[in-house]
Amino acid sequence: MKKINYFLLLFFIGFSALAQDAMSSGEIAEFKKDVNAASAKIKTMTTDFVQYKHMDFLAKDVETSGKMAFKEPNSLAWQYKKPYNYSIVFKNGKILINDEGKKSQMDAKSNKTFSKINKLIVGSVSGQMFDDKEFAISYFKSKDFNIARFIPKDAAMRKYIKQVELSFDKKEGTVEQVRLLESETDYTKIVFKNKILNAKVDDSAFSN
């Protein structure tokens, strides 16, 4: 029995190694340089997104979708359109919420966890996360993506987010997927589609 487990373990290690390889230090330096160069060029970004909430006990992932807009230095709007309307804007330390037409506001600074999450989201969209002291970072590559894995150092934060995984397009150096792990089996995955860089984005996109 032990022998079988040992082989199974080896098999899985081998399998995951095939799927994702750790980057060498040279590759890491190269990758960071590419992403930093790409994100330095990003003044605005608009993109569609699909969010999948995966929990092991569910038959299907809970899927929501909408549009996201980002403008330098740190205005960010998430607009869920399906299956319900809900938008949240992070701007000048404020969080503006529009829930099916009902508007509310809160101070991001008053909520430490929220402001850390905000920083993480802006950082993950713009790719400016590698200097973040809040996370332990490791780097991998798969067939399609370069992957950066962030583990929060703060225990309070780790209760909410065990790990954040950003998958970057190999050519463009921009984020294609965000995966927030809450446990070994449960995660939220956000996939970006139809990304448009540096087109004019009106301030009204962040007015909510």
Partner: protein
């Protein structure tokens, strides 16, 4: 539990043998099992956009419920971004707290939500013939289980509300609106003594 089991057993025997013989004049009161079908299918992921209002504070998110075995429902509340706020396994006689964020991890919050979910997910209630009434097209069944008194109302054969309290005073009520009688499109849980309200709207992800 025993108190519930016995009437249920009596009910099932009556259902099987009830038609065969005339009830004796001094026969015990007949019990009928009344049901809440809205969370009963173990194949279904029940997903609701949910707003919880507590003393003026609002909490929005997605509530996901699923019957994971004969006696237990798993219920998870997440933010719109998918972060889990609570994750409970709720049975009528069991409870497991898998996860709850610090801000909500207060005994009173956890216990209140646990009891609300127990009421929401409970499928069977025993009601005696004497406890049934019809008024304005609404049939009401009353059911007593230990110290708790329940009242279930049906309109056009659809469950429209369950309330729980003592015989004299209602503590909490759950209102349902269902188009198909398979799941509820809208649910509202309202407390009488505390300013707590939970509003849920079904969505198909």
């Amino acid at each position: 539990m025993r108190k519930l089991t016995i009437p249920l057993l009596v009910t099932s025997f009556l259902l099987v043998f009830g038609c065969a013989s005339k009830p004796k004049p001094n026969a015990k009161t007949e019990f009928e099992t009344v049901t809440n079908p809205y969370f009963s299918n173990p194949e279904t992921d029940y997903t609701y956009r949910t707003k919880i209002t507590v003393y003026g504070h609002e909490l929005n998110g997605i509530l996901i419920a699923k019957k994971i075995n004969d006696s237990i429902h798993r219920v998870v509340l997440t933010t719109d971004f998918g972060n889990t706020l609570i994750d409970f396994e709720v049975g009528q006689n069991s409870f497991k707290k898998n996860n709850v964020v610090d801000d909500l991890d207060r005994k009173i919050v956890v216990n209140t939500l646990r009891d609300d979910f127990r009421l929401l997910f409970r499928e069977k209630f025993a009601s005696s013939e004497l406890e049934q009434s019809v008024s304005n097209g609404v049939t009401t069944f009353e059911s007593t289980d230990g110290r708790n008194h329940y009242r279930l109302s049906y309109s056009a054969n659809k469950l429209i509300s369950i309330s729980k309290g003592s015989r004299k005073k209602e503590q909490v009520s759950v209102g349902f609106h269902s188009e198909n009688n398979i799941f509820a499109d809208k649910i509202q849980i309202q407390h009488r003594d505390t300013k707590l309200k939970i509003e849920m709207s079904h969505f198909a992800p």
